[in-house]
């Protein structure tokens, strides 16, 4: 909605400047080659990594640190994809954090207290995420409630439900060992990062290569014109909100099997990083539109910056919030500035 990709009257990026070769200076030609405006995020990651490796080699440049980084980002990545899908469809889903909490409570309590088979517990949690998505979709499409408000309210309700499900306690014991083993290291990397990779590839394929993805982008950018082209916008909104519910639940499951415990409000803190990654992502890879690759790259920028500073300043627990907030502001500001410049220069 407020996404950079959707304001109808504004011009969008047309990719790296081509043509006008005669006028481009050597410098700007190099910039074009490097496609700075599309891949700046990748370069920033490289710069950050090199900086921290030189600055704090004993703590940053270690295999253990790499694993921590990947493991924590796997979870953020999955929920950031939930945010991305919604933003593409032109809808804000602010309930993804709370949905993630619900899924954490459910997958934990079902196993620990209910003695349910872990696979069944996971499936039930994912189904709960889908159900949340359905309710959100109903609220948005049928009752015409603004998605921001509708999902914010939903988020409060879900916080209550998760508390109630978990009885306000973190499930510390009783998770099935098989279940927890799915959070282990596989092929040298934490398993959840593999789940993220699989989910990201599927999301990328659906969004970029199937009619549903094309329709979703169209409906998000101009729902009226999309409807008048025969696109079923209502159905897409349902699809997007259900997907985000399921993805948020998946993030909850991934967090639980990684921690081996189920903190009943564990999803809340993932909301901001998810949206930060998605918005920053809209300035990357395919500038001007929310996109899967951009989201993933952006998430790692934020992660590397936060992780490096955390290691450097172990006594500053506020550093993560600060960096995330500042990066989100810079990201959106940069996106707006880049677009203005593209319009003025053509």
């Amino acid at each position: 909605m407020t996404a950079p990709a959707t304001t109808a009257a504004r011009s969008k990026g047309s990719g790296p400047a081509s043509g006008v070769a005669g006028k481009a200076s050597a410098g700007s030609r190099i910039l074009q080659k490097l496609a700075i405006d599309r891949f700046s995020g990748v370069y920033i990651i490289v710069v950050l990594v090199v900086t921290f490796c030189l600055w704090i080699p004993q703590t940053f440049a270690t295999q253990a640190n790499l694993r921590v980084l990947l493991a924590s980002q796997a979870i953020t990545g999955i929920i950031a994809l939930a945010a991305t899908v919604c933003l593409i469809s032109g809808v804000f889903d602010l309930s993804i954090g709370a949905t993630m909490s619900l899924s954490i409570s459910m997958v934990g309590v079902l196993q620990a207290t209910g003695g349910v088979n872990p696979i069944v517990a996971v499936l039930i949690s994912l189904a709960a995420g889908a159900a949340v998505g359905c309710i959100n979709a109903l609220v948005v499409t049928r009752f015409n409630i603004d998605p921001v408000i509708g999902t914010l309210a939903m988020s409060a309700v879900l916080a209550a439900v998760s508390w109630w499900v978990a009885n306000g306690e973190t499930v510390l014991y009783g998770l099935s060992p098989t279940f927890v083993s799915f959070g282990d290291i596989v092929l040298g990397v934490p398993a959840p990062i593999i789940y993220l990779a699989v989910i990201a590839v599927i999301a990328w394929y659906v969004l970029e290569h199937t009619p549903a993805g094309r329709y979703l982008y169209a409906a998000g950018a101009n729902p009226v014109a999309a409807r008048l082209s025969g696109v079923n916008v209502t159905k897409l909104t349902w699809g997007a909100l259900i997907s985000s519910g399921v993805l948020a639940s998946a993030a909850g499951v991934a967090l639980t099997l990684q921690l081996g415990t189920a903190p009943f409000a564990g999803g809340v803190s993932y909301l901001l990083p998810a949206y930060a990654a998605a918005f920053l992502g809209s300035t990357q890879i395919e500038p001007g539109r929310f996109n899967v690759a951009g989201t993933v790259v952006s998430m790692f920028i934020v992660a590397v910056a936060v992780r490096g500073l955390q290691l450097r300043l172990p006594d500053a627990p506020w550093i993560a919030d600060l960096v995330q907030g500042v990066i989100l502001l810079l990201a959106v500001g940069f996106a707006v500035w880049a677009r203005r410049r593209r319009i003025a220069r053509g």
Binding site: T210, R214, L228, G230, A344, G346
Partner: protein, 559 residues
């Protein structure tokens, strides 16, 4: 009385003129503008003199809007351009400087916020009227909006969101917004295609207003594709072709064929209708169609037939396509396509049944502006390219490349966002999107709005070809000339129903227009129609603009 406050300002013409009539007000020198892959303007120099209405004409993509947008500060020009207003230097590309020097703009896309009302839209151009403490004085604000609008149009619905207004009302609103503080230091009013979809009876209204502004010594720069408007209202005309200025002439020294050949470089084509309608088969049958203004409309369109629909603003004509397609909800009536009933309010079903609609509002309804030309062209027919659940991009790109050539779309590539195209070229993309559906029924609402006169002929030819292939075409248009040229018969809508039907022999622009006003059509002769583009003289054909039969109360004189 209303006039004095807003429009009057110093009366240059009557009193001591601050600028003698004819003295240059705006001078632009050596203006070039290059976009990636496109040179939109090349070394253009333009002078606008005091007290003139100056038309800027040229084919789609010739650079008219770009020139205006550079002046307005939307784009930065290439290095080397200079400009001055009344001798004072103007930095091109600086919107605030242009505004401070008294230049006001109404752009092609109008720039209205669709979900805000007229009152808010007008305030956005000028600032809210606030009391102490920043409280908005709504009553004063409302009055100011009403006053600004009363200069352009009577009876404006102040409280409807702009998105729900008719094309004319939207245009009027944008003009009113631009003009609201004009009296104080106005030096130039710039209008980019204000009449593209404006019903003819309202065009005269607008021109009366423009003449009024001219009388005060304030020049007007006007972009239009309607040749008869150039002659009806402007004193001088500047012709752009491919980004360069090819000619600046007194309108009095020109005629339509000469002007058209200046614009096109002398190319023109003859239309070929091909196979006529198959009167045995009704493709679209409508009974009792009812909506906001329509009251029980009946019509049939046969396979291969092109039926035109004329009607003034408010007659119900504007609704027909949207109701038939299901874009808006009909409150009554039956629609059958090829004998099978079409459910209401379901554009998806309409597309499945191979019904296409080119909507009147290109920006809000016709295109996804931020998406590429390719994605827009194939949005309604994407399933053609799907194999195994995947969109085959190569095949899609090849088809799109073909359409770009066939429709003569001027674009840097198929992958640029469609909002980088000129207005007329965007319209071609919308038409291409629907013609590639090979529709059974094609609903066209102002199909060639903003399309230049040569490209209009190209698009008409494509519509003819679709009809020859069996498509039933319904064209709703405020342009009688267009209706007369392409329709097999014309239905005239008044007060929500079909008021008259003119067969192709009698469907001259003159007769159509007369019928929209409710007068009985003459039998023949009055307006003749010439298919040949070169001698397409709309001044002769249209009664409105030479001698106005409309008793349109002069909005500026209104006491």
């Amino acid at each position: 009385m209303l006039t004095e406050g807003v429009l009057a300002g110093p009366r240059h013409a009557a009193d001591e003129p601050a600028v003698p009539a004819g003295a240059p007000v705006l001078e632009i020198r050596n203006l070039s503008k290059t976009f990636p892959g496109v040179r939109a303007l090349l070394d253009a120099s333009v002078t606008i003199a005091a007290g003139e209405i100056h038309s800027l004409v040229g084919q789609n993509g010739s650079g008219k809007s770009t020139l205006i947008k550079v002046l307005a500060g939307v784009y930065e020009p290439d290095a080397g351009a200079t400009a001055s207003v009344r001798g004072e230097a103007l930095a091109l590309g600086d919107g605030k400087a242009a505004h401070d020097l008294g230049i006001r703009f109404v752009h092609q896309d109008l720039g209205l916020i669709d979900n805000l009302t007229a009152v808010d839209n007008i305030a956005l151009g000028f600032g809210y009227d606030t009391a102490a403490g920043g409280r908005i004085r709504w009553r004063a604000q409302r009055e100011r909006a009403a006053l600004a609008l009363s200069l352009v149009v009577d009876d404006f619905p102040l409280d409807r969101p702009a998105g729900t207004l008719t094309v004319f009302q939207r245009t009027a609103l944008a003009i009113a917004r631009a003009l609201q503080d004009f009296g104080e230091n106005g030096s130039l009013l710039v209008l980019d295609e204000p009449t593209a979809t404006m019903p003819r009876d309202q065009v005269e209204h607008l021109f009366t207003l423009l003449r009024r502004i001219r009388e005060r010594g304030t020049p007007v720069l006007l972009v239009t594709h309607h040749m008869e408007e150039v002659f009806a209202v402007s004193d001088r005309v500047t012709v752009l072709r491919d980004g360069s200025i090819v000619s600046v002439e007194q309108t009095a020294d020109l005629d339509t064929p000469r002007l058209v050949s200046l614009m096109t470089g002398g190319v023109h084509r003859k239309l070929e209708r091909g196979a006529g309608p198959d009167l045995e088969q009704v493709a679209l049958s409508v009974r009792g169609l009812t909506g906001d203004t329509l009251k029980g409309l009946d019509l049939d369109v046969h396979r291969g037939e092109i039926v035109g629909v004329a009607g003034l603003g408010g007659s119900g004509r504007e609704e027909i396509c949207a109701l038939l397609f299901g874009a808006e909800k009909r409150t009554g009536g039956e629609i059958a396509v090829d004998g099978k009933t079409l459910p209401p309010n379901d554009p998806g079903e309409a597309v499945t049944r191979r019904i296409g609609m080119v909507p009147a509002h290109r920006h809000t309804q016709g295109l996804i502006l931020s998406e590429s030309v390719r994605r827009n062209m194939t949005l309604a027919t994407l399933t053609d390219f799907v194999k195994g659940g995947r969109v085959q991009r190569k095949r899609e790109a090849a088809a799109v490349a073909e359409h770009i050539t066939a429709f003569g779309v001027k674009t840097a590539s198929a992958e640029v966002p469609v909002n980088t195209l000129s207005g007329g070229n965007q319209q071609k993309v919308v038409l291409a999107k629907w013609l590639r559906l090979k529709p059974t029924v094609l609903l066209l609402d102002e199909p060639t709005q903003g399309v230049d006169i040569a490209a209009q002929a190209d698009l008409h030819q494509l519509i003819f070809e679709a009809a020859a292939a069996g498509t039933a075409v319904l064209v709703c248009s405020s342009d009688e000339m267009e209706l007369a040229r392409i329709s097999d018969r014309v239905l005239v809508v008044r007060d929500g129903t079909v008021h008259a039907e003119l067969d192709s022999g009698r469907a001259t622009p003159h007769n159509i227009f007369a019928a929209t006003l409710g007068t009985a059509p003459d039998d023949g002769a009055a307006g003749h129609l010439d298919e040949d583009l070169g001698s397409d003289d709309r001044t002769a054909a249209s009664p409105t603009l030479s001698s106005s039969p409309v008793s349109s109360s002069d909005p500026v004189d209104g006491e």
